[in-house]
Subunit: 186 residues, 2 copies
Amino acid sequence: MMASSNPEARTPRAREIVAAAREILEAEGLDALTMRRIADRLGIRAPSLYKHFPDKESLEAAIISDAFEEQAVAFEQAGAGSNDPLWDIALAYRRFAHAHPHLYRLMTDRELRRDLLLPGVEARAGRPVYEAAGGDVDRARAAWAFAHGMTMLELTNRFPPGADVDAAWRQGIEAFRPGMAGGGGG
Amino acid sequence: MMASSNPEARTPRAREIVAAAREILEAEGLDALTMRRIADRLGIRAPSLYKHFPDKESLEAAIISDAFEEQAVAFEQAGAGSNDPLWDIALAYRRFAHAHPHLYRLMTDRELRRDLLLPGVEARAGRPVYEAAGGDVDRARAAWAFAHGMTMLELTNRFPPGADVDAAWRQGIEAFRPGMAGGGGG
DNA sequence: CTAGGATGGCTTACACCGTTAGCCATACCC
DNA sequence: GGGTATGGCTAACGGTGTAAGCCATCCTAG
């Protein structure tokens, strides 16, 4: 059936493959995510996977698509009914990345193949951020970039050993609060 | 001689190898940066490279070390004598990444092997940012994270087609100006 | 009830990857 | 002149994603 990006439309077997792949990814990282290892976990041989996904990239895209949905849910929950949505969504963003570091890397490392994703899933994960930024797209994008940068620097171990990463997060979130700093500039 | 991280201490041949590797990287991207391709460009065979570098990671580290130095120079020049150092360094940061997108990816994708770098080179590239942030480490780190996040989102094509990326940069830089937004937070 | 097509396995194989082992020519130095 | 580094080489290993082609099972249509 050549599993689609829509998880509802996936063959049961395709679902099992995605699950196996994700388990390997989360437990052992990107390097361990090979077609042979995935097949092993299911008791089959690597070439058989190609009966379900056209290539590795599509399989990864299925994982990524699911992850975007999970992010969307987490951000929506974090923002709903919060009296400090920017803060709570940022916290949820950070938490997601730390709970699934390898998954986060998979989602953000490469160029995004939107054509392989469930349509709209990327936008859905972004909307809460947009709203928390007071409806200002540019501010929302800047805040998003801050959160992403912060996360990547954490995950790639870029801060010096004693660095107060929490304080940097606080600074950034404060800086992007609606009502601060206008548009201007050079 | 097993080329060191210090470019001064590199064998002439090691310098040629680093140069060849960097040319391939910048011209064709990370996937093209293979030991066989590097060797090809020098008219030798891949295993011969191991007479000069213990492994591929060390060769990459040499490229990364050089890149940090170039960044440091660029940031120092951008900050020196500027009456808006934060802005000018951010601009230099963005320019460097856009001038060398594959190099930038190589520098930031993986965990940093500091032990393979020329000592101090990383700190040197960071200092101008720290100073431009008014000497506040947390603010400097937040601003750095913003710049890095912004850059990665640009390079991985994450913004929607019509997005005003310049405006997002402006917003972020404004947000991190010294004298705005205090430490506080939850 | 049987023919046919889809489904989902399999083996074999290819080109590429980083890397090791071991051989050998040149060049320099005591 | 002998010994030692230097810097090439070939052959090979185990890993990668993936293509080609074979075959058993099963569902469905006639």
